[in-house]
């Protein structure tokens, strides 16, 4: 007997997401992903100064802060064919790298861990045994029996206060929670430590960006972070060293705690490895350019189709037409007027609010497609593209993570284990560790360049008469992001964002191809339909950001059509 479950709101994500699933015989047989908020930022951008767009679009998301601003200035520069100085490129890479560290750490601990970690079970843990377990996995100095006892007392006090706050009414004691009490206590302790370490990253980002969230140091043509080693109001060696030290401390936490916890969770939940693959077409953007012209990169971008690693194709650089010519979005199942699948430059979208209709329209999200196919984006996509194409650093790290999981689980785990729900988490942890090293590498490159006497940060943009089109892309923490702009006589004529969470959370299209969230839920087990913990596990593994995912554009500048909701 099939049963329908609606989970609304999905919590511990950014934004307003509703998931509906059909359950039959203890497993999910159908799924619908629905974005529940619309803001219309792309309408608001029309007619404005292209240099201002970065500030508007950064407000698409404060969890994915920095990423839309980066994509935006790149889109305008692409339209103007404007190259930026090397320092600006490297400073942007530091913004990208440092933000990524904070974002991935927060995602695993604050937004996902409670799907796997039973906080209440930690009350039954023995702190000394917890120390033994933790020491068997890692040399992290924070893993002491004293600290674990203090964390346990903290949880005890919270429970006894009768005010559980954010821990109230959750799925504690759920049959799918498998960790022993000591592993739960260790994870709760790391959950609290993660809050301190993510904050260390934000200090480094603030020094470059002026504030975080929502950095205010980018500019069309480069950056506004003044560089001068001989001045006190600029980026000098004291400031630069502070950045380096913060990043090194965060890197230690990533390598000794985050990666290890992830491997332990993966190993202790080995029965979950097959679940949650869904769409196995993968798409990633090249990023972390190593030169001013952005023709070489430290992060590989490309595609894999149908889960076949041999099918990998790399994008050569930002100008590679194979991406920009083959992206379309479908509104067949979204609350918009019309039924089309168009290229971002061609889109003409009008909102048409409606009710949730699983056989018709049910979301504010569009369905992006590459060569007509749904694609999964995110850290997993990028790590797979790197692994399949023989990117040395990525191959080494992915193999290292798989070895760690295998040793804890006592069974050999291969790269195909990465395709599922836990694999998405593992790939994110691996990428986080890579980004820590790349951030420090690009820091060295910046310091070397400043040491040579190059203090350039900005090439002024000039907006000619007529029309220019540009696309800026960026590999954000949640995956491939692209911004598309058409400029007319120095003003924005239209602006379109095709966002990672739209790729992943988007609905079916006119051919009924499911989006990645929807496809990944199929065949997931559901032990208790009243407490659908398993749905949260798979959805959270994508790191949803729904504010990012919902966009619209009306290139004609028409008034939004008013349609009464039924």
């Amino acid at each position: 007997m099939a049963q329908k479950i609606t989970i609304d709101p999905i919590t511990r994500i950014e934004g307003h997401l509703r998931i509906d699933v059909e359950v039959d015989g203890g497993a999910i047989t159908n799924a619908w992903s629905s974005g529940q908020m619309f803001r219309g930022l792309e309408i608001i951008l029309q007619g404005r100064d292209p240099r201002d767009a970065q500030h508007f679009v950064q407000r698409i998301c404060g969890v994915c802060t920095t990423v839309h601003a980066l994509a935006s200035v790149r889109a305008v520069e692409d339209a103007l064919k404007l190259e930026i100085p090397l320092n600006a490129q490297l400073i942007r890479n530091l913004v990208q790298g440092i933000h990524c560290l904070q974002d991935h750490i927060v995602h695993f601990y604050a937004l996902s861990a409670l799907d796997w970690v039973d906080v209440v079970s930690a009350l039954d843990a023995d702190p000394v045994a917890t120390q033994r377990l933790a020491e068997s996995l890692s040399n992290w100095p924070g893993n002491s029996a004293k600290r674990f006892a203090a964390v346990k007392a903290k949880v005890q006090a919270l429970v006894e206060s009768g005010q559980l706050g954010p821990f109230a009414n959750a799925y504690w004691g759920h049959a799918a929670m498998k960790l022993p009490p000591e592993a739960n206590l260790m994870a709760v302790s790391h959950y609290l430590e993660a809050l301190d370490y993510q904050r260390k990253a934000t200090v480094a980002l603030g020094i470059i960006g002026g504030k975080d969230p929502h950095v205010q140091n980018l500019a069309v043509g480069g950056v506004a972070t003044a560089v001068n080693p001989d001045n006190q109001a600029t980026l000098n060696m004291e400031r630069l060293y502070k950045i380096k030290q913060q990043v090194e401390e965060v890197r230690d936490f990533i390598n000794n705690v985050y990666l290890v916890d992830l491997a332990a969770v993966g190993a202790l939940y080995a029965e979950w490895l097959p679940y949650g693959a869904g769409v196995t077409n993968y798409l990633a953007a090249p990023d972390m350019p190593t030169n001013a012209a952005a023709t070489s990169f430290d992060l590989p971008g490309g595609t894999i189709m149908g889960g076949d690693l041999a099918s990998v194709k790399l994008f050569s650089d930002f100008k590679d037409p194979s991406f920009r010519d083959n992206v379309q979005e479908s509104i067949a199942r979204g609350w918009y007027d019309g039924d089309w699948q168009k290229h971002p430059y061609e889109e003409d979208t009008k909102p048409k609010p409606g009710d949730f209709d699983e056989n018709g329209r049910y979301t504010w999200l569009k369905a992006p497609r590459f060569e007509g196919k749904p694609m999964q984006v995110g850290p997993l996509a990028q790590m797979l593209v790197g692994y399949a194409s023989g990117h040395d650093e990525i191959v080494k790290r992915v193999n290292g993570a798989l070895d760690l999981v295998s040793s804890i689980a006592g069974v050999r785990v291969g790269p195909d284990a990465l395709f599922g729900t836990l694999g998405r988490h593992a790939a994110r942890a691996v990428r986080c560790s890579l980004m820590a090293d790349l951030t420090l590498k690009h820091w060295e490159m910046l310091v070397d360049n400043i040491g040579k006497g190059d203090l350039e940060i900005f090439n002024p943009p000039v907006f000619p008469k007529g029309e220019q089109k540009g696309m800026g892309w960026h590999e954000a923490p949640r995956g491939l992001l692209s911004h598309w702009i058409i400029i007319q006589d120095g003003k924005i004529k239209n602006y379109q964002c095709v966002v990672p969470s739209t790729w992943n959370a988007g609905p079916r299209d006119s051919q009924d191809q499911l989006g990645p969230y929807e496809a990944s839920l199929l065949a997931n087990p559901i032990a208790d339909p009243e407490r659908p913990l398993e749905v949260l596990r798979t959805i959270h593994s994508f790191d949803p950001c729904i504010a990012c995912a919902i966009h619209m554009l009306d290139p004609e500048g028409r008034e939004v059509v008013k349609v009464k909701a039924l």
Binding site: P9, W172, P353
Partner: protein, 361 residues
């Protein structure tokens, strides 16, 4: 103002119902019956003040500031100081269990909880542009506000409508005080605001049991009482007529005033130069070399844009009032910019001021 520090069990709460609630809570937690007396004892002793946090049309940047806050840090805040009974980004529960948690807190703490709102509230099409658990944002706000003790609108979206309210405001977004008029409201604007201003307000309220003094826009004076320009470390450069003409130029490398590359500090009320962002980073946008964009002011997305054009009619030291600068989108609130330069000394560097900005200025 309700006393938020609840020292005694609300006598209106039926004891048998209360015991039953504790028993159910214990069962839900997988705890044994022996825990029930402890929970009863706890629930009748000093409680952490309950807070319900709602998200509407937002980007979660305001919630993210809590992760950056260091005094108190997030763990201390939610484990020791307040009871964060509903917050979609951090709470463990989801779906109907999450909604139940909120309603339990609303019933138990009626008239006593603090409501924090993040995000704008869309009113167009009867509010369909933002829904949670099948309800429109505006209806949720009214329902939760009705039993709150006071409301903090956190961030420029919740205070003034924010980015979605920029022209042409397709969804009819507004801030909290356009909808709620019968409750004390504190506006903490900024995009996002500095978390010290929220945490300072909460601590002020819990410690002194009253709201901090507010300005005409309901913003705490301790944070929004002065213009950015008044406390800016680059003010001396303004007064001496030393300006950055373009990012990366020789004057930018010397930390000169950013007014001519669009800084809106002269028109913006906020404590950024004093409070600084990101703890020991000790920064704010001007300190790294980018102008203020005026994000604490109402409708700044329209009044302060274009961001890279300078405010017109500001008396530049040593050169009189500049009349021919680009006009900003709409009239800036209440402050005549001309007043800004009154105390400015005659600058020694009488550089030529270009009226119309070309790319990059």
């Amino acid at each position: 103002m309700a006393d938020t520090v609840n020292k005694t069990l609300d006598p209106r709460l039926n004891r048998r119902g209360f015991l039953k609630g504790c028993t159910m809570a214990a069962a839900a937690l997988g705890l044994s019956e022996t825990m029930v007396p402890k929970m009863v004892e706890a629930a009748t002793s000093a409680q952490r003040p309950p807070v319900i946090w709602l998200h509407f049309q937002e980007c979660t940047g305001c919630s993210e500031t809590l992760l950056r806050g260091a005094h108190p840090d997030l763990a201390r805040l939610i484990l020791d100081i307040i009871s964060l009974d509903y917050h979609e980004t951090v709470m463990a529960a989801a779906g109907h269990q999450a909604e139940e948690a909120m309603h339990q807190s609303m019933e138990k703490n009626a008239g006593k909880y603090l409501l924090v709102v993040e995000g704008g509230i869309p009113l167009a099409e009867n509010g369909v542009y933002c829904k949670i658990a099948g309800k429109n944002a505006v209806d949720i706000l009214k329902e939760v506000a009705a039993k709150s003790a006071a409301i903090i609108a956190y961030g420029t979206c919740a205070t003034f409508g924010g980015v979605q309210a920029a022209k042409p405001n397709p969804t009819g977004a507004v801030g909290v005080d356009s909808i709620i008029s019968d409750k004390p409201i504190i506006n903490i604007s900024g995009c996002p605001p500095n978390p010290v201003n929220l945490l300072g307000t909460i601590l002020h309220y819990l410690t002194f049991n009253r709201l901090p003094a507010l300005d005409g826009l309901k913003r705490p004076k301790f944070a929004y009482g002065r213009r950015i320009h008044d406390h800016c470390e680059r003010r001396a450069h303004f007064d001496e007529g030393r300006f950055v003409e373009q990012f990366g130029d020789q004057f930018h490398k010397l930390g000169y005033c950013l007014y001519k590359v669009g800084c809106k500090g002269p028109e913006t009320f906020a404590n950024c130069p004093v409070a600084r962002f990101n703890n020991e980073a000790g920064v704010w946008p001007v300190s790294v070399g980018h102008g203020c964009i005026g994000c604490t002011e109402p409708n700044f997305w329209d009044t302060m844009t274009p961001f890279y054009d300078r405010i017109p009619n500001v008396k530049i030291p040593g050169s009189g009032i500049i009349e021919d600068a680009d006009r900003l989108g709409t009239k800036i609130l209440g402050v005549t910019a001309a007043a800004v330069g009154v105390h400015a000394a005659v600058g020694i560097g009488k550089r030529l001021i270009k009226g119309k900005s070309d790319g990059g200025e």
